[in-house]
């Protein structure tokens, strides 16, 4: 408890709190559409690409975020094109791209800087690593994601429920898919610092899966996902500060527990 009180006076804590809450919120919103479109592997693939890009950037002494954002956005476009194309299996393509990026990242890191704490932080996350720049960037992205949801909520629903019908009746499905991919890419990159590249994709999928256990309406799935996601983050952060647990991993475990509890109670209700 003393830990918890004293920690409020550290600016790194406030930065982590702001970035964490906003990233959780964005991840939950994007996650609902990604999971329902069966694109949930996209987040996972992109996080590995983000790690690879960050490791290479560290090795050559460039700013990891500035390298990772464009690389991951391009990867997102490519993976989306492959998934839409339908000839090559989308999930297989993502698996190949993601493990290749991870492998390249690990090799570059070991050969140059070694597997130091920086690399470790990118893999598993650290709340100490959030910079002021990250905060500004996160706020911008969060505003973009929230605006997109508010303005295009109905069209996103139509495009997610039935892509063909939406496209046939004048919804710009391809545009929304691109928007979804780009925002997911950026969310993954900014969340990676704190949550870890290997853990970030679970905060995209878990809240949506959990809320779908108990909600039968799209609107309530969206709202409940956001609540679950932010709650899990705050609980995970609390555990990490009080008991010195790793933040990213704690958030994931809280999400897991919520998922299990909701699955169980959902079964009882049926």
């Amino acid at each position: 408890m003393e830990n918890l009180l004293s920690v409020f006076s550290y600016s790194f804590f406030w930065r982590a709190l702001i970035v964490g809450v906003l990233v959780s919120l964005c991840a939950a919103l994007l996650g609902v559409n990604l999971v329902l479109k069966r694109y949930s592997m996209l987040g996972d693939g992109l996080s590995h690409v983000a790690f690879g890009a960050a490791a290479v950037a560290l090795a050559v002494g460039a700013a990891p975020l500035k390298v990772a954002v464009p690389v991951v956005v391009i990867a997102a476009f490519l993976l989306l094109r492959i998934s839409e194309n339908g000839k090559i299996k989308g999930d297989a393509a993502i698996a190949v791209v993601s493990s290749s990026a991870l492998a390249i990242g690990v090799i570059v890191a070991t050969m140059t800087t070694g597997m130091n704490t920086d690399i470790n932080n990118y893999m598993f996350g650290s709340i100490l690593a959030v910079s002021k720049e990250d905060v500004v960037f996160t706020v911008i992205i969060a505003v973009a994601v929230i605006l997109m949801y508010l303005l295009f909520y109905n069209r996103l629903f139509a495009a997610t429920f039935d892509e063909n019908f939406a496209a046939a009746t004048g919804v710009k499905v391809k545009l929304y898919n691109c928007l979804l991919a780009v925002l997911t890419a950026v969310t993954v990159v900014i969340g990676m610092r704190m949550m870890g590249a290997l853990l970030i994709s679970s905060i995209i999928t878990f809240p949506a899966l959990s809320s779908m256990r108990v909600c039968r309406k799209y609107r309530s799935v969206t709202v409940v996902s956001v609540i679950i996601s932010v709650f899990s983050f705050l609980t995970g952060l609390f555990l990490s500060v009080c008991y010195d647990m790793p933040a990213g991993a704690s958030v994931v475990v809280v999400n897991l527990i919520i998922f299990l509890v909701l699955s169980f109670s959902g079964r009882i209700r049926k």
Binding site: L36, A168, R216, K217
Partner: protein, 232 residues
Amino acid sequence: MKTLIEVENLSVAFEGNAVFKNLNFKINEGDYLCIAGENGSGKTTLMKCILGLDVKYSGAIKYGGITKNSIGWLPQRSETKRDFPASVFEIVLSGFAGKKETGLFYSSKQKKQALNYMETMEISGLKNRCFSSLSGGQQQRVLLCRALCAADRVLLLDEPVTGLDSSAVNELYTAIQRLNKSGITVIMITHDICSGLKYANKVLHISEGGYFFGEKSEYILTEYYKKAQGGI
């Protein structure tokens, strides 16, 4: 009369196998076109071409003053998503998603119209039910209401009566006829040629060797019609 859709030399082939070749026809405003043909003759494919979905075709389709967001479509029953969490009302309203005036919320006028259609198709009681928990026929009615919401000028229906009970079939035909009388152009694929012909004014029959397009009165004199009759 104004031509809404003009199809010129339309051909589609999948992996080198021709589905249909050199279709030519015109659909005028207010027409009620019935599309017939055996399984696999390319009716759904033709509809997808008209809707501008990803089908590679050669030839041309010209649209006279209609945009995508004035078209409603009932897809052929098949790939409805099993576990999608959405209420009946959310799905019916999504017919309006492509409209210009749709913003953060659907307008009260749109909601009223959606409820009206649901009343006609007798699914108002299912408004808050989860779509995936409905029976096949109920789902078909929901998707039909969604198509009606979207159809400002043109309504395309791909085998709308599959899975419906006889009273629902009657309601559906009456509702569509009423829409057609109010000026909406209807294009309907059906295997139920008798009922189709009762309401339609034009027929397109696609078959492997060729196709027929023309007035209903001409159609009933053709071999196509006799064959289709014999088939039942």
